[in-house]
C-alpha cells in the first residue's frame, strides 16, 4: 500500500512542479529560472527552451540523482524536479503539464520500487550491502563545515580553527557516548563556521537595486502552488521517501534522517544568497524552496501531518520573506562567500566518503574484486576526462560490482 501512496505523492509533487514551471512561477534548476518567465509569457519558444532545459538537466538526473536512489531506494529530488521543469516548459497547456508530471512521478516511483525489489531478490542480495556506502559519510560529515570554512577563509581559520573545534567536539561526544556524535560535531562545526561568516558586518548596506525590488511581489504569484509543494515535499521526507542531494539521500537510506536534516539546514544557509538574488532578478522562485530548507523540515519533524504544516509554512516564509533575507545578506556579505564554501564542503566530503563507502560495499559483496572494480572505475573516469561526476563513482561502481558478482555466480 505504501508503494501506491508513494507513487501518488511523487506524481503530485512532479505535477505541481510542472504547473509552476508552465505558468512561469518557479523553476527547480538555477539555470532554468532566468528564462522560465520568458517562456510562460511567450517571449521565448517552448520547444527551444525545453531543449536547453534538457541539456543542462540530464547529466544531473543520471549522475547526481539516480546512483544514490538506486543504492538506497530513497528518491533524490532532482529525479522529480528536473523533469518537472522540462515538462512545464514544454507543455503549452496546464492540463498537459499536470498529466505528464503525474505520469513521470508515478513511473519514477515504480522504477525505483522495482529495482529495489530486484536488488533484494538476486541470488546474492545487494540491498543491505549498498547501504554500507553511506557509513563513511556518516562518520565524516563533521568535516563538511571544516572544508567549507577552509575553502572560504583558508587553512588557518578554517582548517585549524573550525577543524580544531569540530574535532575536539567530535572526540568529546564520542567519549561521552551520545547517540548522534556526528550530528553534534557537525552542528558545532557549522556554528563555528557561521561565527566566522557573521564577523564581517556592513553598517549601511547598499540599497536593493531598483530592477530587483519589483521581484519581491512578483514571486508571490506562485504562492498557492509552491506552498502546496512545500507541504508535500516535507511529508515525503518525513516518511523517508525523498532526500535533497546525494549526501542526504545516502544518510536517509542508512536510517539517519536527523543527520540528513542538519546537512539540509546548513545547505539552506549556503543557497539562500544565490536563490534570493536570482529569484528577485528572474521574478521566479525555486520549485523546491531554497535547497534544502523545506525538505529538511520533514526530516527533523518526522510526523507527516506536522511536517506538512511546517513544510508549507517554511515555503510561505521563504516566498514572503525574500525581501527581508536580501537585507540580512547585504548586511552580512560573508554569506555570499559562505554559499560557495558550503557547496564545496558538501560535495568534496561526499565525493571522498562515497568513494570509500563504495569500495567497502563492493568488497563486502565480492571480496578483493570489489576493490578492483571501484578503484578501476574511479581511475578510468579520471583518465578519460571525468565523464561521470566524481560523487557518483563509488555508488555506481558498487552497484556494478554487486551485479557482476551475481553474474559470475550464475555462470559458475
Amino acid at each position: 500500500m505504501d508503494t501506491v501512496w508513494r507513487a501518488l505523492l511523487f506524481g503530485a509533487i512532479t505535477a505541481l512542479g510542472a504547473v509552476a514551471a508552465q505558468r512561469g512561477y518557479s523553476a527547480f534548476h538555477d539555470g532554468v529560472r532566468p528564462f522560465v518567465r520568458d517562456v510562460a509569457a511567450g517571449r521565448r519558444e517552448r520547444r527551444e527552451a525545453a531543449g536547453s532545459t534538457w541539456s543542462m538537466s540530464w547529466g544531473f538526473i543520471l549522475y547526481y540523482g539516480a546512483p544514490f536512489s538506486l543504492a538506497t531506494g530513497v528518491m533524490e529530488k532532482h529525479i522529480l524536479g528536473l523533469p518537472a521543469d522540462w515538462i512545464g516548459i514544454r507543455s503549452r497547456r496546464v492540463s498537459l503539464a499536470v498529466g505528464c508530471g503525474l505520469l513521470w512521478g508515478i513511473c519514477a516511483s515504480a522504477l525505483l520500487s522495482s529495482t529495489q525489489w530486484v536488488f533484494a531478490n538476486l541470488p546474492l542480495p545487494m540491498d543491505q550491502h549498498l547501504l554500507d556506502i553511506a557509513r563513511p559519510l556518516l562518520a565524516m560529515m563533521p568535516l563538511i563545515p571544516v572544508v567549507a570554512a577552509t575553502s572560504q577563509f583558508g587553512v588557518r581559520l578554517g582548517g585549524f580553527g573550525v577543524g580544531g573545534v569540530t574535532g575536539a567536539a567530535y572526540v568529546a561526544v564520542i567519549a561521552l557516548g551520545t547517540d548522534a556524535p556526528a550530528a553534534i560535531a557537525f552542528a558545532v562545526g557549522g556554528i563555528a563556521h557561521l561565527f566566522l561568516v557573521l564577523r564581517e558586518r556592513v553598517d549601511t548596506p547598499p540599497p536593493l537595486p531598483e530592477e530587483l525590488a519589483a521581484g519581491k511581489s512578483e514571486i508571490r504569484r506562485g504562492t498557492v502552488a509552491l506552498v502546496l509543494t512545500g507541504a508535500l515535499l516535507a511529508v515525503a521526507t518525513s516518511l523517508l521517501w525523498l532526500g535533497g542531494e546525494p549526501a542526504s539521500v545516502m544518510l536517509i537510506g542508512l536510517g539517519h534522517p536527523l543527520e540528513a536534516g542538519l546537512i539540509g539546514i546548513y545547505s539552506w544557509i549556503g543557497f539562500a544568497p544565490l536563490v534570493t538574488y536570482t529569484a528577485l532578478a528572474s521574478r521566479a522562485y525555486t520549485s523546491a524552496g531554497m535547497p534544502d530548507g523545506v525538505l529538511a523540515t520533514g526530516l527533523l519533524v518526522r510526523y507527516p501531518p506536522a511536517a506538512a504544516v511546517v513544510g508549507a509554512l517554511a515555503m510561505w516564509g521563504e516566498l514572503w520573506g525574500v525581501g527581508r533575507f536580501e537585507r540580512i545578506i547585504s548586511r552580512f556579505p560573508g554569506l555570499h562567500g559562505a554559499g560557495a564554501g558550503i557547496r564545496d564542503g558538501i560535495l568534496l566530503v561526499s565525493e571522498i566518503a562515497l568513494l570509500i563507502g563504495g569500495a567497502i560495499s563492493a568488497d563486502a559483496m565480492w571480496p578483493s574484486v570489489g576493490f578492483y572494480i571501484v578503484g578501476g572505475f574511479w581511475l578510468l573516469n579520471e583518465a578519460s576526462g571525468r565523464r561521470v561526476m566524481r560523487v557518483a563513482v563509488g555508488p555506481l561502481a558498487a552497484i556494478a560490482a554487486g551485479l557482476a558478482h551475481n553474474l559470475q555466480y550464475w555462470l559458475s
Partner: protein
Amino acid sequence: MRIVIYGMGREQVLELVRSVAPAGSTVDSLSDYQAANEIRTGQADAAIGVCQSGAGGALAIPMALLGSASCAQLSTPSRQPTDDEIVAAAGSGKKVFGLALGHVDAAVPTLVRALTTPAAPAGSSA
C-alpha cells in the same frame, strides 16, 4: 588585465589562472556577488565562476545582476567544452564564464590564454 574568480574550488582555479595569466595581470578570488559588481563597475575585465553544472551557481548571480548577454555558459554537467568553443566564447565580448567543477583543469588554461591574447588563432593552446 584583472580576472576575478568565484564559486566552487576557488583554490584550484586561482592556481590555474595564475599559472597561465601573463605578467602584470591580477587575479583575485571573490564571492559571486562581488565578482558581478566588479564586472559591472569595470574594476574587473573578466570573471570565471564554477559550480557543479556550470549553469546554476556559476552564472546565477551574474545573470541576475548583469543579464545573460554578459554571461557565457561553457559547460554542461555531462559535456566538457572544446578548445574552439572556449576561444569563441572568449572572443564574443562576454565577460563572465561559467564552468562545471569537473572541467576546470581542462578548460581554465585555454580560457585564460584566449582572454589574455585575443589575437591568438583558435585552438592553438592546449
